[in-house]
Subunit: 343 residues, 2 copies
């Protein structure tokens, strides 16, 4: 099994002049630099705007800095929200990161789901789907076309352009896309993209989704590769049950805060990521919050279900949790790989 | 006197599969990393699109990577062309660079002047001025406002946003702006920005412009500081006169190629940067192309005219030229500073 990281740095504006606003970014960088040394495979960073609590907004920039300070870590976006971006500028920025990092970009993309972001950018949520499709067309063409080309679309037009620099990965960095409903998962398979599964779904739901994806890929005559499915999970390496239970309550509160930002005034936001109940039981079952033994048990369930790539989101145990996980959990699952390799 | 660098990396797309498209970027990075060690003050990078010969498009990304590999070098854009960018995304990207670099961003801005870029982005050249103004308003507000705010403009609208992360430099990274005509220079003084003077104007024209700026600043009751004027100059450290003359011919050809891209189909592009004649004499007079002795003489003329900050654009003598310049030209002018400091 492979383990990557998924999360956000934080740099809040305002507050007292004593607050070191750069610290959150530096901490995140150091966290990921050490993660590379500990054997983690990737760092996926979010893109969010206007929260007022300092989530990462310029994701590709932050990953570009991280690229300079690492050498093997895959650098992922999870996800770039395409409706906010001029697709040609985005293609240039992503290509620059891919080039500078020696081809380490994993390009996760999404339509967006938070009301406050659509409102902030003054883009109707109803346009998200069409903007997403048009942007993917432009991005793909920008990365794969060496001769001047033009595009006349619903939202964007470009005339006689050549998009530079070229990407290192050919034909372009892999696309990753989040999905929850069977229809959406089918859509990801149809595009030939890799799949991101969210961190809030209970294990059985996650495994069903993975199975849906496998069937969709295979029904198109392609070989299914479990490395092309990243399963996000919250991680908290707890000292004991009490420590774990306190951490899970903090996780539930944080999720409610985000859901409030995401919700539309009419309550009609039905994104699958917002559909899970917020009971302690579900939150515990769906996350890797627990003692080392409990975590091993949950990872085993995922592994037994065919999951090969887990993206860990730090739930508060920080770099110490990553160290412990790499020392005490990873080896349990790397044996599998050795066994498989020996087959 | 201070010496910085001004230029572009190159990563051309297409060509044979053997071409290492990343080499141009890596060379540029190594060039600037060594420049920092040699005592250069800054690296300003251009932003250009769709040339087909690989100029830098995602300028802030490239500077972000350079930020991670340097520690004192100022990181400049020369210039970000505001009409291409969503001003809020740009504010986030620039703030992220400022934050990650510890406050080293010099934010050069421009309206754009190349026809092929306006056409490529499908933006009428006639809108450049209004888009530029609106973007500056949004950028400044984004960087200086801690509470949610909204903007309803001609080209952009934003509702209840807080732009994060915060910049390190307060109230925001310094704006730099290119100008040539007396009116434009007056405008830069009016805004309170720093001034960039182009690399093609003959020395006497450059000094006149600087004088115009000085008068404009002082007439507004502010103190003039020559460190706030960056004078761009092409540099080629030549072995001898023949070597110099070959280099200047290459420079003239390269400039013609750019002017062709910039020109409108009707020939009506009257940007001041395109107004100089392309005789060998003018090109030689306006550049620091020559033997060390000749270069010292030209820098002296600028220095005598009050110039304190020169931005060197590599004309082909490469890192060896920078080494020679730092060893044989810089010391001649650093004495001045020591003398001044002792006064």
């Amino acid at each position: 099994m492979k383990f990557g990281l998924f999360g956000s740095a934080q740099a809040k504006r305002g507050g007292s002049p004593d607050v070191d606003s750069a610290k959150g970014y530096r901490d995140w960088l150091e966290f990921n630099i050490e993660a590379e040394a500990l054997g983690y495979h990737s760092a996926f960073a979010v893109e969010h705007h206007f929260t007022g609590f300092g989530q990462v907004s310029a994701t590709i920039n932050l990953l570009t800095f991280l690229a300079a300070e690492t050498s093997t870590l895959r650098l992922g976006t999870a996800v770039m929200v395409l409706p906010w971006h001029n697709p040609v500028l985005l293609a240039e920025q992503a290509a620059t990161l891919d080039l500078l990092s020696g081809g380490r970009l994993d390009f996760g993309v999404g339509k967006g789901y938070r009301y406050n972001e659509f409102d902030g950018f003054n883009i109707p949520m109803e346009e998200a789907g069409d903007r997403f499709e048009e942007s993917l067309d432009v991005l793909t063409r920008a990365w794969t076309t060496d001769e001047p080309w033009s595009h006349q679309g619903k939202y964007w037009s470009f005339n006689n352009i050549i998009v530079e620099p070229p990407t290192i990965q050919k034909p372009h960095p892999p696309f990753w896309m989040g999905a929850g409903s069977p229809n959406s998962i089918e859509g990801v398979a149809e595009r030939g993209y890799n799949l991101l599964l969210d961190q809030f779904a209970p294990i059985n739901v996650t495994l069903e989704r993975m199975q849906t994806f496998r069937t969709s890929v295979e029904s198109r005559g392609r070989k299914f590769d479990a490395n092309e499915v990243g399963v996000a999970r919250g991680l908290y390496v707890a000292r004991d049950a009490a420590d774990r239970d306190e951490a899970i309550q903090r996780r539930i509160s944080a999720r409610n805060r985000i859901d409030n930002l995401a919700q539309r005034p009419d309550g009609a936001n039905k994104a699958s990521i917002m559909s899970y109940d917020d009971t302690t039981e579900t939150a515990l079952e769906a996350s890797l919050f627990g003692t080392v033994e409990e975590i091993v048990e949950k990872v085993s369930k995922l592994s037994d279900g065919g999951v090969k790539y887990i993206l860990l989101s730090d739930g508060g145990s920080g770099i110490e949790g990553l160290r412990q996980f790499s020392k005490e959990v990873m080896p349990v699952f790397s044996t599998d790989e050795k066994a498989e390799a020996a087959e």
